[in-house]
Amino acid sequence: MKIGVLVSEGPYTHQASDSAYNFVKAAIEKGHEIYRVFFYHDGVNNATRLTEPPRDDRHIVNRWTELSKQHNLDLVVCIAAAQRRGIMDENEAKRQGKDADNPAEGFRISGLGQLVEAGIQCDRLVTFGD
């Protein structure tokens, strides 16, 4: 089955990103295709490489990066939601005159159309959030 995933809450504050991660891993193990993981609302905060949790805790951001490397996952962050919350890639940072960019490896920033497209292309769209 072709599956799209929507993550709409931030890391650590909320279980959504953990549950989405476990779901994606399990779905891949069962032979399903993860078409895309889309991060919206505070979910965009899952994408910042500046995240540094205490050492005895899971690293939610790095975990997504690793999973993306292993399975060539498409991790997409909504640009409008990201800009509100200080998540910005190199090109956008230049355009906005900012001195830094912060998406972690494996994440790309794109438009909301990517979420709608996932809804159209996938057999299921599964939401993780409130």
Partner: protein, 133 residues
């Protein structure tokens, strides 16, 4: 939440799915209503069969005469009136949610279909994709 894509229709433009956006939150206090509306507007560009449902505090999103000046936030409620121009005309308001909040159809800023909770459940079952905000 799982959404089914069985019984998909197609037209010349390609796949047309039934999308329902479920609005559950008050317009201010959290960003869900505003960012939800942004998804709705983008979806119009994909020529899908889009409908909106308003339940729980989401019915407040359609309340007439919103004044956000004291909040220091933008009043985005006029955007709901623009949906018609995007060919998004199926707006459902759950009767139970509306009545529990002392509202009537006259309090709402756009034309809607008021449906019971059971009717809304029936509409949700017909959808290919349901996204909640």
């Amino acid at each position: 939440m799982f959404t089914s894509s069985e019984d998909m229709d197609t037209d010349e433009g390609g796949v047309v799915k039934k999308f329902m956006f479920v609005n559950r939150k008050a317009p201010y206090g959290t960003i869900y209503a505003l960012e939800g509306l942004e998804v709705v507007l983008i979806s119009a560009a994909f020529e899908q069969d889009v409908s909106l449902a308003f339940v729980d505090d989401g019915v407040y999103e359609l309340k007439k005469s919103q004044d956000t000046k004291p909040l220091g936030q933008k009043n985005f409620s006029p955007t709901y009136r623009a949906l018609e121009g995007y060919d998004i005309e199926k707006l459902y308001v759950e009767r139970e949610s509306m009545e529990a909040r002392g509202l009537t159809e006259d309090d709402l800023l756009v034309d809607v279909q008021v449906v019971s909770s059971a009717e809304l459940a029936g509409l949700m079952v017909e959808q290919d994709v349901v996204i909640s905000f």
